[in-house]
Structures are given as C-alpha cells and as structure tokens.
Amino acid sequence: MASKLNLKVTSFTDRKRKLKSQLIIGVLLFLALLACFPFLFISAYVISKGIGSLDWAFFTQLPKGPGETGGGMANAILGSGTMVLMCCLLGIPWGMAAGIYLSEYGEGKTARILRFATDLLTSVPSIVVGIFIYGLIVIYFGFSAHAGATALAVIMLPIVARSTEEILKLIPNHIREAGLALGIPRWKVILRILVPGCVGALVTGVMLAIARVAGETAPLLFTALGNQFFADSLSQPTASLPVQIYNFAKSGFPDLERQAWAGALILVLFVFVINFGTRAFIYYKKS
C-alpha cells in the first residue's frame, strides 16, 4: 500500500512553525527566570549589606546625631512593635467579625456590596489612609502612636476580613447543619465549632496581615511622624522602623545609611519568617 501521508516535519511552513514555537518557549523560560531574579538580588543584597550592622547596640541604643557613628534603632523597633500591637487590637477583632459576617450571613446583593467595599478598601493607596487619619485624629490630638496604629489598622482590617471569609467558606456546610441540628444556636456553632476547627488557618491569615502592615511606611509619615528618642507615651510622636529607614536613607550620612540597611534587614527577616512559616504550616497541613 503506497502511502501519501507524510508525518514528518518537512515542509517549510511546518519547519518555521516548529522553530517559532521552540523559540517562544525559550523566551517564556527566560522571562520566568528574569522575574525570579529581582527577589534573589534584593534579598541577597539586603542581607549582605545589613548583616554586619546587626550588633547589640543596634537593638539597644538610640540613633546618634548626623555625622556621628554608632548608635542604634531601639526607639524605632520599640515604636514599630507597639504600633503593630495596637493595630492588631483594633484590626483583628473588627476584621474577623466582618469576615465571619461575610462568610456566614453574607448572601445576596448587600453581601456583594460589602465584599466589593472591602476589596476597595484593600486597594486604597496607603498614603491616602494616612491623610484620612490625619484629618480624623492628628488635627485634634497631634502626631501620636494612637494615630499611627489606627492608620495601620485601617489597612489591616480588609485583609483580615477577606482572609477570614475565605477560610470559613472552605468549611463544608454539613458541619454547620450538624451543629444547628443539635439545637445549638448559630452564634455558638460559629464560635465553638467553626472557628476552633480552622484556628490554624485563621492565624496564618492574621500573620500575613501583620507582615504586611509591619512594613508600611506611607501611612505613618504624618500620623506617627517619627521621633529621635523613645516616646514617653502613646500620644506622642513615635518612631517606627520603616519611617526611620526612610529618614536615614535620605540623610546622606554613610553611617545612617548603614543603619538603614540593617533596619531593612530586620523588616525583611520579619516578613520572610512569617511568609515561610505560614507556607510551611499550610504545606504541613496538606500532607
């Protein structure tokens, strides 16, 4: 039987097509590698630049004046810690409550509006949040840790709300029904059966939100402002790590720039530990 079929690549067009396909796959591989490069570059650079300055003084001393060497960022670390903690006190309960509402009671058109508003709040530029808190608090009470923490909480709120919602939605419905069928009121079903069942995942979501706000600079610039010293109270201008890095970076003094890198390393380590940790947790849970 004589065959007319040719199943090999012989024609010019086919050869061209095959080559083009392989070429473009090569380009796509290159683009993927290119996109991975900045992360490796940035993290390696921050580590190598910052690691040498992470000494005891960095964590325990106040910054020295411009031109002097030595000193640390103790005030900024304490300030950031305080404000993030305060932000959690407001942002986590509120965000979780909203998230539970969206997941457990959120159906129909109004829920869609709520969800949309939450998403929009996530995408409000953080500097605009700063202006809002300036008008709401700073005008009346001055720059303070309170104002800074509230600004951070506004940023944290929608993140926590949406992650809580997504996590609770993963729980199959029959578990809710089983609880309700036992005659347990709905609010107890939610708080004593649903929430404890996924507390690990909820914590994961909250941790990621904390990692996000801990690095925020813009909303603190004109709410907490910054401080060369330790703040005496929560209603005083307060230093924070990101703002201090910013101020040191643009100071033009090499020793302050050196400390800015060390501060950046602290931030990056904090964020990475949380991200790696949560991923490891999720991976561990899956397997």
């Binding site: 996109a35 940035i42 539970i100 508003a117 709300a161 709905r186 004593r192 990101p242 964020v271």
Partner: protein
C-alpha cells in the same frame, strides 16, 4: 473580670442544658441576635469607613477647590511661596511612571504565567512561582532603599549611557543620566507589580477549561499556537483585568517611588528627568506644609489619587469578576 464574663458568655453553658430547656427560646434568640448585629455592624463599618474617608478628605480639601478653582486641575505650578498649587505635573508623573511600569511588567508577567501554568513541570513551577510571589511580600521601603542605592546607580552607569548613545536623538532619552528619575521609578514599579499581575493572570489561565487546549492541539497546533489560540485569546479580558489591577497598584505606590523619582514638580518629556507623583508629593510635603492652603491643596491631591485608584480598581475587579463568572457559568 472581663475574661470571666467572656467565659460565662461563651463556654460555661452546656449544650445539653439548652436541649433540655427548649422553652427558653427567647434566650437563644437573644444571643443569636446580638451576635448577628455585632457582625453586621463590623461589616457595614467597613463601608462606613470608606464613605467617611471620602467625606472627610473631600471636606479637608474643600478650601483648595474653593480658592484655586479649576486652576488646581489645569496648572502644573506648585509653589508654596506664591501659593500657586496645580496637580497637573503630579498627574503626569503618576501616569507616566505607572504606564512605564505596566509596559515593562506585562510581557514579563504574562510570560511568567504562561510558562509556570502551561509549560513548566511542577517541580520547577513551584519554586519559581514562590520566588515571584515573594516579591509581593517585600515592604515598599525596602524596594525604595534598593532602588536608590542599587538600581539607580546601575541605570546610571550601564543603561542610560547606552540609551543616550543609540537613542539620544529621541526626546524620551535626553538629558543627564542621573540614575534616579522617571525611568528608575518605572523599572522599580514594574518589579513591584509583576507578582500582582502574574498571580491574577495565573488564576485566569487556571480557569480556562483543559478542553480548549486539547482542541487546539488536536487540530495540529504547535505548543505556542495552542497557547495563543486556547489560552491567550480566551483569557484576554482576564489579562486586561489583571493589568488594570497592577496599574492600580502602581498608581498608589508611595515610598519606593518617592525615593527614586527625583522629586521635582515639573513636567519633562525625557524619562531621564526627575518627576513627582501624586503619592510622592504627599510623602514629601504633607507633614510640613507651610500654610493651610497648601495643606488643603495637598489633601486635594490625595483626593484625586484616591478617586483615580477607586475607579481603576473598580473597573479591574468588575472585569475579573465577570471573567470568573463567565468560566463558571459557561463551560
């Protein structure tokens, strides 16, 4: 005291007690109701917060609009000595730096999404995807620091001289190669929005049914032709949504841009020149405004930025929502 109360409220009453006392219905309903309204309040509180934000910022910026009128939008002059305030140069800076970022980031992000979703085996896709996702976790101040001390010098010594040599006749590439400026901001923003766009695009690609890909292959398409036909063409509107979302993120980005854009409130065609965005002028001047009018004008800049990003993000979310619905409802 409080913990005791909480414990009493939540944990002390036994379930069996409730079952044995079905007549105390009102009590059960009461707890449910309080809980429900608490949650509802929290959720509507977010809407209220958003509205309050718009209202308060509008009120704070009102003096600027009433004093400056339309010149606020038509003037590019920003001078606290002469009390002239116009937003135009910041809008220009914001738009150009963001568009530049999108232009750099889109081909890379879509390429990444194609490669990781459609071509790479999972042992390769997972670590690469992780490295790209982690870009989104780096705080923007760290990007700024890196941009100022690493990226800008790199551009100054290696990229800008080459561009000057070959494209110096082109108005986009003229002037002294300083490193910092519009180009640097664009590149840095591109790195920052790549994870956003690629993650969104990957979601869109994941939603496309496998059968489209098989149909293309079954017709004798090469791998690239299959990607073009079944993935890119099918996912076009989703990709557009992802790109707009990335654009929204670039528009509002503050710290990184402030640190590398040069901070000059002027309009220049050349990408080597310094500029100023709506976000960067706020970061630079808000805490130390000299006059009430300047503060109001700055707030008005914030309002403009706020509105632009609300509109852009609404459009993006609408598109993404429609696309996801389309795939779920359709095939």
């Amino acid at each position: 005291m409080v913990t005791e109360l909480v414990e009493k409220l939540f944990f002390t009453r036994e379930i069996s007690e409730e079952i044995s006392l079905p007549l105390k219905k009102r009590d059960v309903h009461f707890g449910d109701k309080v809980f429900y309204y608490l949650l509802k309040g929290a959720s509507w509180g977010i809407v209220f917060l958003l509205l309050a934000m718009v209202g308060l910022i509008l009120k704070m910026s009102w003096p600027a609009f009433s004093t400056l009128g339309w010149t606020f939008f038509t003037s590019a002059e920003w001078n606290s000595w002469t009390q002239e305030f116009g937003v135009l140069s910041f809008i220009y800076g914001t738009v150009i730096s963001s568009l530049l970022a999108v232009a750099f980031a889109v081909p890379v992000s879509v390429g990444v999404a194609l490669f990781l979703n459609e071509l790479a085996p999972s042992w390769l896709a997972r670590p690469l995807g992780f490295l790209i996702e982690m870009l989104a976790a780096i705080p923007s101040i760290v990007y700024g620091l890196w941009g100022l001390f690493v990226l800008a010098p790199l551009l100054r010594t290696y990229v800008q001289p080459v561009l000057l040599d070959y494209f110096g006749w082109f108005p986009l590439f003229q002037g002294p190669p300083l490193g910092v400026g519009m180009l640097c901001a664009g590149v840095l923003l591109a790195i920052m929005i790549t994870p956003t766009i690629s993650a969104m695009t990957r979601e869109v690609f994941k939603a496309i049914p496998v059968s489209h890909r098989e149909a293309a292959l079954g017709l004798g398409a090469t791998r690239w032709e299959m990607l073009k036909l079944a993935v890119l063409k099918t996912g076009t509107s989703g990709i557009i949504g992802a790109v707009i979302l990335g654009l929204g993120r670039a528009l509002g980005e503050t710290m990184a841009v402030t640190m590398v854009i040069g901070n000059k409130s002027e309009i220049h065609l050349s990408l080597f020149e310094s500029g100023q965005t709506m976000a960067s002028i706020l970061a630079n001047q808000y805490a130390e405004a000299d006059s009430d009018l300047q503060l109001a004008a700055l707030t008005a800049v914030g309002l403009t930025l706020f509105m632009v990003s609300l509109i852009i993000n609404s459009i993006a979310r609408f598109i993404v929502w429609k696309v996801e619905k389309g795939f779920k409802g359709g095939k």
